[in-house]
C-alpha cells in the first residue's frame, strides 16, 4: 500500500510521519527510522520522497528490511539543503513521506543463480533491502556476493552489518576503498577492480549495481567483459526528481523516466545511452 495515494487523492501531498529513531552511519551519512502507517510495504529498490518542512523534498531509497513492517528506514547522505536539514532532525520530529515509488530489484528473477551486488558509496543503501531479502531467503540463491567500494574506510556504511555479513559462510563480501590510511588492511582501488576476482558464475549470476553513474558505467563494461549477459545486469539510476510520478520531466534519461520506468533498469536497455555525454 502506498502512502500518498491511500491517504489522499493527491499524490503530491506528503504524509506527515514521525521519526522514531535516527543514528549516524558515517561522518556525513545517517539513517532515519520512521513509523509508517499500518500496512505500508515496499519492495527492495523502491524509494520515497521525503519532505523536510519548508525546506524541500528529496528522493531517498528505502534502506531497511522489507520484512520488517514496523519500521521504515532510510539512509541519507547530507549533501545539500534538504538532506542536511533531515540530518539535523531528532526522534519525535515529523517529516513528510510520499511513496513508495519506482520499480524493484529483480530479486525473484535472480533466484536459482548467483546474486551479485555491486555498490559504491551511498549506493549500498538501496541495495541493502535486496541483500536482506536474499539472506532471508538464502536457500533460493546460489552464491550471494557483495562488492562494495567507498572513497575511504571512514565512508563505509553499515560497519556492524558488514562485519556480520563477512562472518557468514554463505555470503562473500569484498570491500575496497579508493584512498586508505595506514591502518587499512583491506584492498585499495575502485570497486570495478573487484569484479574480476569475485567468486561467482558469470553465466548464472544476476548483478545489481548502484553507485555514481561513472562507477556504474565502468562496472557494466567490466561485468560484460567477465561474461555476464547484459540482460542480467541491473542498475539503479539517479536523476533530479521533483514529482516521482512522471509529470515534472526532470528525471528523463533518453526514452525513460527514471521515477516511473526505474529507478532500476536493465543494463542492456541503457548501455548505449550511458556512453553518450549529457543525456
Amino acid at each position: 500500500m502506498a502512502l500518498a495515494t491511500e491517504s489522499t487523492v493527491d499524490p503530491m501531498v506528503p504524509v506527515p510521519t514521525t521519526i522514531v529513531d535516527r543514528w549516524d552511519e558515517t561522518d556525513d551519512t545517517f539513517s532515519l527510522s520512521l513509523a509508517p502507517p499500518p500496512g505500508y510495504g515496499f519492495e527492495p529498490g523502491q524509494f520515497n520522497m521525503l519532505y523536510a518542512f519548508g525546506v524541500g523534498e528529496v528522493a531517498i531509497s528505502v534502506s531497511g528490511d522489507p520484512a520488517s513492517h514496523g519500521r521504515l528506514v532510510h539512509t541519507v547522505r547530507g549533501v545539500g539543503s534538504v538532506t542536511k536539514r533531515l540530518r539535523d532532525l531528532v526522534p519525535g520530529d515529523v517529516i513528510g513521506v510520499r511513496g513508495p515509488f519506482g520499480n524493484a530489484w529483480p530479486v525473484t528473477a535472480a533466484e536459482g543463480g548467483d546474486l551479485v551486488v555491486v555498490a559504491g558509496g551511498i549506493g549500498l543503501a538501496p541495495l541493502r533491502p535486496a541483500i536482506l531479502h536474499a539472506l532471508a531467503h538464502r536457500d533460493r540463491y546460489d552464491r550471494v556476493v557483495l562488492l562494495y567500494g567507498t572513497r575511504t574506510p571512514r565512508d563505509l556504511l553499515y560497519a556492524d552489518l558488514l562485519s556480520e555479513w563477512r562472518g557468514r559462510f554463505d555470503m562473500e563480501v569484498l570491500v575496497t576503498v579508493d584512498n586508505a590510511s595506514q591502518e587499512w588492511r583491506g584492498s585499495v582501488g575502485v570497486v570495478t577492480k573487484l569484479i574480476g576476482r569475485a567468486p561467482f558464475d558469470p553465466k548464472a549470476a544476476t548483478v545489481l549495481v548502484c553507485g555514481p553513474e561513472v562507477m556504474m558505467r565502468f562496472c557494466g563494461r567490466e561485468l560484460r567483459r567477465r561474461g555476464v549477459p547484459t540482460d542480467r545486469i541491473w542498475l539503479s539510476m539517479e536523476r533530479n526528481m521533483q514529482c516521482a510520478i512522471g509529470v515534472c520531466g526532470h528525471c528523463q534519461f533518453g526514452p525513460v523516466f527514471v521515477c516511473r520506468d526505474g529507478p532500476v533498469f536493465r543494463y542492456d536497455d541503457l548501455e548505449d545511452l550511458l556512453e553518450i555525454r549529457e543525456v
Binding site: V55, G56, S81, R85
Partner: protein, 255 residues
C-alpha cells in the same frame, strides 16, 4: 540559524537603490525587523553595532583602495555574504570607467582631480572576496531580497533562478515584443528576476539583471542586427548597467 540572525547592510559605490529596496518592503519591513536583528544599516539607523553578522548584504562596487579594504573586513565579519544589485555583482554603471581613462573622467567632472582618490576600475565584490549569494538587478527585485532573507532565516535554499527573462515573460503571458513588434529585447540573454518587467510595458529588456546562465549574445546580436540595430548601438546596449559582466563585455567587442 540560532534565534534572530544579525543583519548588516553595507554600502559601497552605488545609488542606494538596492538597499532602499529593503525599506520599500513596506508590508514586510516590521516583520523582517522582528525576524532578524538589524545590527548595522546606516541608511536606516544610527545604532550601528559591530560585527560579526550572520548575514551581510553588500550594495555597491569597489572603486577605491579604502573600499577594497572595507570589503575584506566585511567578509571577515560575515557569516553569509550576499551581494545585491548590478553594482555589487558586476561593477554597475560606474564600471563604464573600466573602458576609459579615469584621468579623463576626473578632469571632466572635477576641477581639482587631485582631491579625489579613486581606483581606475569599478569591480564587482566577487573579484575581491568570496560571495555566497548574488542578487542581480539594477535595482534588485525586492521580492528576491525578501526571498533570500526568508530562505536564510528558514534554512532553505533561496529560489533565485538563473535562466532567461523569457521564462518569466512567457509564464506571465506577456506578448513577446521581439517577435510580435520587432522591438529588440535582451530578455533571451538576461537573467530572470524582474518578472519580465520591460516587455510587460512593451519595452525591450535592456539587461539590467545581467547575463543569464548560458547567454548566447552572438546569436541574439545577429537577430538585433536583422531588426535594424547597428554595431555602435549594440556596444551601447551591452555596455550599460552590467557592462563589466564577462559575457556582456565580450559581446560589446564587436569589432
Amino acid at each position: 540559524m540560532a534565534d534572530r540572525p544579525r543583519l548588516a547592510v553595507l554600502k559601497f559605490a552605488s545609488c542606494d537603490g538596492c538597499q532602499l529596496s529593503l525599506l520599500d518592503c513596506e508590508d514586510e519591513l516590521l516583520a523582517v525587523a522582528g525576524a532578524v536583528e538589524i545590527a548595522n544599516f546606516a541608511e536606516a539607523s544610527r545604532e550601528i553595532s559591530p560585527g560579526p553578522y550572520d548575514v551581510v548584504l553588500v550594495e555597491g562596487s569597489i572603486t577605491t583602495d579604502h573600499d577594497a579594504e572595507r570589503i575584506r573586513q566585511a567578509r571577515r565579519d560575515a557569516g553569509i555574504l550576499v551581494t545585491i544589485g548590478a553594482c555589487a555583482t558586476a561593477g554597475g554603471i560606474q564600471a563604464l570607467r573600466n573602458f576609459a581613462d579615469v584621468g579623463d573622467y576626473l578632469r571632466t567632472v572635477y576641477a581639482h582631480p587631485e582631491y579625489i582618490s579613486t581606483l581606475d576600475r569599478s569591480t564587482p565584490v566577487r573579484e575581491h572576496v568570496t560571495v555566497d549569494y548574488e542578487l542581480r538587478g539594477c535595482p534588485i527585485s525586492k521580492h528576491q531580497l525578501l526571498e533570500v532573507l526568508n530562505a536564510l532565516v528558514n534554512g532553505r535554499r533561496p529560489v533565485v533562478p538563473t535562466y532567461a527573462v523569457c521564462v518569466e515573460c512567457k509564464r506571465s503571458g506577456i506578448p513577446c515584443v521581439m517577435v510580435s513588434a520587432g522591438t529588440p529585447c535582451l530578455g533571451p540573454v538576461t537573467q530572470a528576476g524582474c518578472g519580465a518587467l520591460c516587455p510587460s510595458y512593451r519595452r525591450g529588456c535592456f539587461g539590467c539583471f545581467g547575463p543569464m546562465e548560458s547567454p548566447n549574445t552572438a546569436s541574439l546580436s545577429a537577430e538585433w542586427r536583422r531588426l535594424g540595430v547597428d554595431d555602435a548601438r549594440l556596444v551601447d546596449v551591452y555596455r550599460s548597467f552590467n557592462a563589466f559582466a564577462e559575457p556582456f563585455r565580450e559581446a560589446a567587442d564587436v569589432r
